[in-house]
């Protein structure tokens, strides 16, 4: 009976053109990314994913001697998709938080960047306290640390959540939003490269350790501790031999490595 069911499942799988992923022995590692986060990851005109985390991820794969593939996945579904086995690692500017640790395990932190508010260029106020932003519309990406931060501290503002970070930026540029909360490097990239000076950075927020955690790490399924260990080893190696600095130098003026 069991054999028969097994056969049916396998036959179904084959009929649907599904390839069983290689078991345990890691030869290929599939990266999941939300490619709407330049300069960390975005899509170029050919549809390929480019950015700091792609270059860095490739460097890690070289160290680990595995082939890697990169998949684009909307942020809202990125943890469910990892858990559902649609890829093996989330390598997408995901901050290491207690909330997420309930679902996934993280590698060591591999970068930490300032977080803050952007506003329209015409807005001259530098006060971004919850009182000052009362009744103002603030946009950010849903299911992020930024969304959680706004929910905790900016209860009296009109918080709008978007599927990607690009979308609140567009709405800030058009004036639909008064403020956007996000990674300041991403906001700067948008303002300089796409926003045509529409907007400006207002200031950096103080990290709330409960919400923000120490920085960004790679996330894995809880069972894949071996893969996490491989990543940790590779991260340390790229730190030691200068590869990390070489790659980040291509994208950033200041070091983002963090401690």
């Amino acid at each position: 009976m069991r054999e028969k069911m097994l056969l049916t499942v396998v036959a179904l799988a084959l009929a649907a053109g599904i390839s069983p992923a290689s078991a345990k022995e890691w030869k290929t590692v599939r990266f999941g990314m939300d490619a709407s986060y330049a300069p960390f990851e975005s899509v170029d005109t050919k549809g390929d994913i480019i950015g700091f985390e792609v270059d860095y991820g490739k460097a890690l794969c070289e160290k680990m001697k595995v082939t890697c593939t990169f998949q684009n996945q909307d942020w809202d579904g990125i943890i469910p998709s990892l858990l559902a086995g649609k890829f093996d690692v989330i390598f997408s500017s995901m901050n290491i938080t207690a909330e997420r640790k309930k679902k996934v395990i993280f590698s060591d932190m591999y970068y930490a960047t300032p977080i803050g508010f952007a506003a329209q260029a015409s807005n001259k106020s530098n006060d971004f306290s919850p009182e000052a932003l009362k009744g103002k519309s603030i946009g950010t990406q849903s299911s992020t640390i930024h969304a959680n931060y706004l929910e905790k501290y900016y209860k009296n503002s009109d918080v709008k959540l978007y599927p990607t970070q690009d979308e609140p930026n567009l709405d800030l540029a058009s004036g639909r939003l008064d403020y956007v909360l996000g990674d300041l490097l991403v906001e700067e990239d948008f303002i300089n490269n796409k926003g045509n000076g529409c907007c400006r950075i207002v200031g950096e927020i103080k990290r709330d350790p409960e919400i923000h955690g120490p920085g960004v790490g790679a996330a894995f399924r809880p069972d894949d501790t071996d893969l996490r260990d491989m990543f940790n080893k590779a991260i340390a190696e790229t730190d030691a031999n200068g590869t990390y600095d070489k790659i980040q130098g291509k994208y950033f003026k200041k070091s983002i490595r963090g401690k």
Partner: protein, 242 residues
């Protein structure tokens, strides 16, 4: 095996979740209800004009009506919504000049605007089909009785067309309820929006199933009530057919 079954059951039902986030689903339902009701009503009024334009002898008018309904029925609603929502953002200076920016600034109005235009296209086709299915002889009969054009329309054509249109209009209402879930993608916290919000917080799959049950209940309710209404209005027709 029992463990798996239990595991799977908790994957489907999670009542703690409902306790903590249930109010969000109710709030979302209210937004869905508003958006759909307003859009369908505006669409109904608009569809009358589109249909009249379509059936007019003026080539430009009828051509414009054909183009309108081809566009709105031939492209995905999500694409139309993006076009209105993000397109309005792009032409903000112009919209500010003509004093319409306050309207397009709001995701709520953008959704109602897009949904109304979309459903108007579908409803106008329903109306046109119904009107043209009234036999020509009926109109001629009215004319031979010396009735004015208005009275022919009011007492002969429209009542019959309305009866024919009733059922497809009900179907259109149902498809609007289902299509309104797209509003979530442009930040509106309708039923689908709240569902996505809760899922983003909890990664608990059961919230999608709760949303499904709610949508299903509304749609089934409307289907049944509409069926009753349809039956009540067309009682004499059935009697005549006997």
């Amino acid at each position: 095996m029992l463990q798996t079954a239990q595991d799977f059951l908790s994957f489907i039902f999670n009542f703690d979740l409902l306790q903590e986030y249930g109010w969000r689903l109710v709030a979302g339902l209210k937004i869905t209800f508003e958006v759909v009701t307003i859009s369908v009503l505006i669409g109904f009024v608009l569809s009358y004009f589109v249909c009249s334009a379509r059936m007019s002898r003026n080539v430009i008018l009828s051509g414009a009506a054909v183009a309108y309904s081809t566009f709105f029925r031939g492209t995905p609603l999500l694409c139309q919504l993006y076009l209105v929502y993000y397109g309005a953002g792009e032409i903000r200076p112009f919209l500010t000049d003509v004093g319409l920016w306050w309207f397009f600034r709001d995701a709520y109005y953008c959704c109602i605007f897009t949904f109304s235009l979309n459903t108007a296209a579908y409803q106008s086709e329903i109306l046109r089909g119904a009107l043209s299915s009234v036999p020509k002889g009926q109109i001629e009969a009215g004319a031979s009785l010396g009735l004015s054009t208005y009275r022919i329309a009011r007492h002969i054509v429209w009542p019959q067309a309305f009866l024919i249109a009733l059922r497809p209009l009900g179907n259109e209402l149902i498809s609007m309820i289902k299509a309104s879930a797209l509003a979530a993608i442009v930040t509106l916290l309708d039923l689908m929006g709240q569902t996505r919000f809760i899922f983003a917080r909890t990664f608990d799959f059961s919230v999608y199933l709760y949303a499904a049950v709610i949508y299903l209940a509304i749609v089934e309710l409307i289907r049944r009530v509409w069926g009753r209404i349809d039956k009540a209005f067309s009682r004499h027709v059935i009697a005549a057919a006997r």
